[in-house]
């Protein structure tokens, strides 16, 4: 038997392959609704195994290709998200600047004072002096001792001027002092800087009824600051036994740690510089 099979191995192999092919073909026709022929049943188990293997390989390939595409898509989306975040940051910056400028424009309309808008471009490098540099100078009508304001209140005064820049002594500098009055009680005081975020209130008489929260405005005396500009609010006031004056502190109305745009009051006659 074996020798017979070996002698005719080519023919047997050919018949076997032909049968397999026929079986695949017929079983496929059976699945489509045609009458499955008996030959189709011969190839079905093999076909099922082959189909299963093909399906498995196919799904692995599909997953691999999908993952590749998914990876590329993820990288593209990450780049897009990063770009969008940058744009959002820029937009937020514009929105905030818009809000600040809107407040400045609104403040400008509430006062009769001529105002020159300026940007803060630098700050003091020393721990013992509180100054800022503005981008406007004498060419823009800014002069020495010009008051500097924001909608929040007095910021300081100009003490150095060049044609296109000026330096401002801030309210919190120890060299700064302004004559002021407590708006509610009309008590006359002097506000002096002391290097931190509060100012000293000097010469507040012992008998004055001043409370935290009382607004303090410029008195107009001294000839530098016009009358009625907000300086800040009383933060603390206490009478110390044995002292003639009360010890008081003022919280500036302007946020001096976040100065970006300010207004300078030009000298009379310099409101409209050439």
């Amino acid at each position: 038997m074996l020798s017979f099979l070996l002698r005719h191995r080519a023919a047997i192999a050919g018949i076997g392959f032909a049968g397999l092919a026929l079986g695949f073909l017929v079983s496929h026709r059976g699945v489509d609704g045609g009458v499955p022929g008996p030959l189709g049943l011969v190839g079905t188990p093999v076909q099922a195994v082959a189909r299963g293997m093909a399906d498995s390989i196919g799904s692995v390939v599909d997953r691999y290709v999908f993952l590749l595409e998914a990876g590329e898509e993820a990288a593209r989306l990450r780049r897009e998200v990063a770009d969008l975040r940058r744009e959002l940051l820029a937009v937020e910056e514009v929105v905030q600047e818009n809000e600040r400028l809107r407040k400045l424009a609104g403040f400008r309309e509430t006062t009769d004072l001529p105002l020159v808008p300026a940007r803060v471009v630098g700050r003091s490098a020393s721990a013992w002096f509180r100054t800022v540099v503005l981008d406007k100078g004498s060419d823009d009508g800014v002069g020495p001792d010009a008051p500097v304001l924001t909608p929040g209140g007095v910021v300081g005064r100009v003490y150095e001027v060049s044609p296109d820049a000026s330096r401002v002594l801030l309210l919190t500098d120890p060299n700064f002092a302004v004559d002021a009055i407590v708006q509610r009680t009309r008590a006359q005081v002097v506000i002096e800087g002391r290097l931190d975020d509060r100012c000293r209130v000097l010469y507040l008489a012992r008998g004055e009824d001043v409370r935290p929260g009382d607004r303090v405005v410029t008195s107009g005396m001294g000839g530098v600051f016009p009358k009625g500009l907000l300086v800040g609010a009383v933060a603390r006031a206490e009478a110390v036994p044995g002292e003639v004056f009360q010890r008081a502190e003022l919280a500036p109305g302007a946020d001096l740690s976040r100065l970006e745009e300010v207004f300078v009051v030009p000298a009379p006659g310099e409101e409209n510089p050439p």
Binding site: G122, S124, S126, A127, W128, N175, L195, L256
Partner: protein
Amino acid sequence: MRPFLAWAAALLGVILLQSSVLPLFVPDPWRPDLTRALVLWLALTGVPRRGPFLALGSGAVVDWVSGAPIGFTAFTRLVLYGLCRPFRGVFFDHHPLLLVPFAAAGALADAGLSAAVSLWVLERPLVSGAAWAVGWRQGVVDALWVPVVFIALELATGRRTPRLVPG
């Protein structure tokens, strides 16, 4: 030449940093005076040479940029250099952790010197309470910041810890 150029570049860099960048993030009393660290470096290491002139010059630059009377910070930096100079080679190189309290002490010394000098120079002298209030905050920040500056300057100037010679 390298140590001088590195130190000068560091001076310009810290001046720019503390006048333009740091104010955006750090409120005033806590904002460190980075030039003080550069003067401490000069005093404790002697690199580059001519430390007194460089200390004086760094203070003058700070005065010019800040709008302070020229010479105010220059003088206090020179005195600070003089106070720290005796400690060169005493402990810094071999006990570097001691730099932390030394940096804090430097800030407090600067506060005291500035308050003292202001009595003669400024129309309204610094109130001592205000000066110390700023000084201790600067001391805390300097204690953290000065070691970083020293490491950066060691790398930039190429200065290395001198070896102990036995005998």
